[in-house]
């Protein structure tokens, strides 16, 4: 049987289902504890960040768990830092630990991708966060904040174009949301926002050539077409039409 691993960075737990049974792995805790199915509720509880990974062996689980936890924790700290409703003391406490997490490039990329999913909401305080990070000399944090702040206009355009694509082209609202989540975590929205306008279309072209997105082709085509109203159509395509 192919193994299946449930990982929740939020809970700090991974649960491996394989031919040996059900085993749990805990951050800074025991690894490979045999479990009954009935114990699974107590382990992952109501965490909504559960990801499923297939084909992983027991040796690979702790590293996956650590990475998922770091991604989740870094994102949480980042959101605390930019939240104008957070107390200043809380925001300040978050900075050194966030700086620590951002030393891992994969974590930085993950936070960046997630923060390019949509424009920062009104209650966020990016300038204030930059001031606080500057005061703590947290260079990685500052760099991240500045990059996110500087692309807000493009992030808003990318997102509004996506929102305008009818869910029916993906089959259902749920499927569109599932595709959106994958596009965000894969960094597609990030790429669309940061690339120069005259090469943004190559991001769509790459997507459409990738068989992984075959089921979402109609929706992605519509997204691409809508983008031509905002960004220059590539010359080769303009010439051929």
């Amino acid at each position: 049987m192919m193994s299946r691993t449930l990982v929740s960075g939020q809970a700090g737990v991974a649960i491996l289902f394989d031919e040996c049974g059900i085993r749990s792995f805990h951050r800074h805790g025991p690894a490979g504890v045999l479990r009954s199915q009935a114990e699974v509720p107590g382990l992952v509880g109501g965490c909504k960040d559960v990801v499923v990974v297939e084909g992983l062996d027991a040796e690979g689980v702790p590293a996956l768990l650590e990475h998922e936890w770091m991604k989740q924790r870094a994102l949480l700290l980042f959101l605390l830092l930019i939240d104008s409703e957070s107390r200043t003391e809380t925001r300040l406490v978050a900075i050194p630990d966030l700086e620590l997490f951002l030393a891992e490039p994969r974590v930085t990329v993950s936070v960046l991708h997630r923060m390019f999913a949509a424009p920062i909401p009104a209650e966020a305080d990016l300038p204030g966060a930059i001031d606080l990070a500057s005061g703590r000399n947290a260079l990685q944090v500052m760099r991240l904040l500045v990059e996110i702040q500087s692309h807000q206009a493009e992030i808003a355009v990318v997102r509004s174009l996506w929102d305008a694509v009818p869910a029916g082209l993906f089959g259902s609202i749920e499927e569109k949301e599932r595709v959106a989540f994958q596009l965000v975590t894969d960094g597609v929205l990030y790429q669309l926002a940061i690339r120069d306008a005259n090469v943004k279309d190559t991001v769509f072209a790459d997507l459409l050539e990738n068989p992984r997105w075959a089921a979402a082709q109609a929706g992605i085509e519509a997204w691409r077409s809508a983008s031509w109203h905002h960004w220059p159509r590539p010359r080769w395509r303009a010439a051929s039409m």
């Binding site: 049987m1 299946r4 449930l6 960075g9 939020q10 809970a11 700090g12 737990v13 289902f17 059900i22 805990h26 951050r27 800074h28 805790g29 025991p30 504890v33 009954s36 199915q37 009935a38 114990e39 699974v40 509720p41 107590g42 382990l43 992952v44 509880g45 109501g46 965490c47 909504k48 559960v50 499923v52 989740q72 924790r73 870094a74 949480l76 700290l77 605390l80 957070s86 107390r87 003391e89 809380t90 406490v93 978050a94 630990d97 966030l98 620590l100 997490f101």
Partner: protein, 306 residues
């Protein structure tokens, strides 16, 4: 899996009297208390399916069943005899006091508790919500099915509505499940909470309760108000003369990094937990970011750093 069906829970097979229907040790139904209705209400049903009259939380009704109350009383009497034989009568009194003041605690990761506390809309979900969302796909082997059914047998047909916690004397919890202990506000749960001898999965394993032998023996559960009786029944025989207050209180809950070795009285709370259900939280600082999350919860709930 329809546990009731597989366990042979057939309403018509039960013995009936004027107000209740017995299900061969699998629970006791009742007649709807609405005088204009009187329809049969099954053990797992909170409301009458005909008129939606509130018939009481199923776990609380289960703990009030005559056989349960009588069996628990027998166990309490036996525990008191044993304690007297050990010269531990004063310790028994202290244990009862500890139990009466005990609270329900549930431990999760600080990340998860933060998510609950931060939002007025978020409700702490259950495993079954995840399964319903297609996130969990348990293997459908016979062995797994048998394991999965242990919990439902102790909470027949309403297990999906139950949140689990443990009794605590000092607001510390089962830190093998995470680093943040949520102490629940008694006034928000007492009417919908019951206590059970131990982790109900282990209970069924220890006593051979399974789909083939689905009857959960009586005397191992109690209402919240009677939790001291269950504590005495379970722990009375462990008392010894000259135990300190700390020793006595420590009997209530012992925890290890490996949750299989945890020993506690399990609390079953019907329905969800909202942030306002919490009385306070205790955070063990274990990893970077824990302090920031603990600080961020302070505007919403009383926070203690351990």
């Amino acid at each position: 899996m329809n546990v009731a069906g597989s366990a042979g829970l057939l309403k018509n097979e039960g013995k009936k009297d004027a107000t209740v229907t017995r299900y061969k040790g699998l629970g006791v139904g009742m007649k709807c208390p609405n005088p204009d209705c009187g329809h049969a209400v099954r053990p797992h049903e909170w409301h009458c399916v005909v008129c939606l009259t509130d018939c009481g939380f199923p776990n609380v009704r289960a703990a009030r069943v005559e056989e349960e109350v009588a069996a628990l009383a027998d166990r309490v009497a036996e525990a008191e005899r044993q304690a007297a034989g050990q010269g531990a009568v004063s310790e028994l009194v202290r244990l009862r006091d500890v139990a009466r003041q005990s609270r329900a605690v549930r431990v999760r990761s600080v990340d998860e508790v933060f998510a609950l506390v931060k939002s007025d809309n978020k409700l702490l979900g259950t495993f079954y919500d995840l399964k319903g969302a297609g996130l969990l796909r348990p293997e459908a082997t016979e062995i797994e099915a048998a394991r999965q059914s242990a919990e439902p047998l102790a909470l027949l047909n309403y297990h999906e509505q139950i949140q689990f916690a443990a009794l605590t004397a000092d607001d510390r919890g089962l830190f093998s499940y995470g680093n943040c202990a949520m102490v629940l506000d008694e006034s928000k749960i007492a009417h919908r909470a019951t206590v059970f001898e131990e982790n109900c999965v282990l209970f069924c394993q220890h006593r051979g309760v399974s789909p083939a032998n689905p009857v959960v023996p009586p005397g191992f559960r109690a209402t919240w108000e009677k939790r001291d009786d269950l504590v005495i029944a379970k722990l009375g025989s462990r008392l010894a003369a000259d135990m300190t207050d700390e020793d006595v209180a420590g009997l209530l809950l012992s925890t290890d990094e490996d949750s299989v070795k945890d020993d506690f009285v399990e609390v079953h709370i019907y329905g969800r937990i909202h942030r306002h259900t919490l009385s306070c939280v205790t955070v063990k600082l274990r990893q970077p970011g824990d302090r920031a999350l603990a600080e961020a919860m302070r505007p919403y709930v009383s926070v203690e750093i351990a």
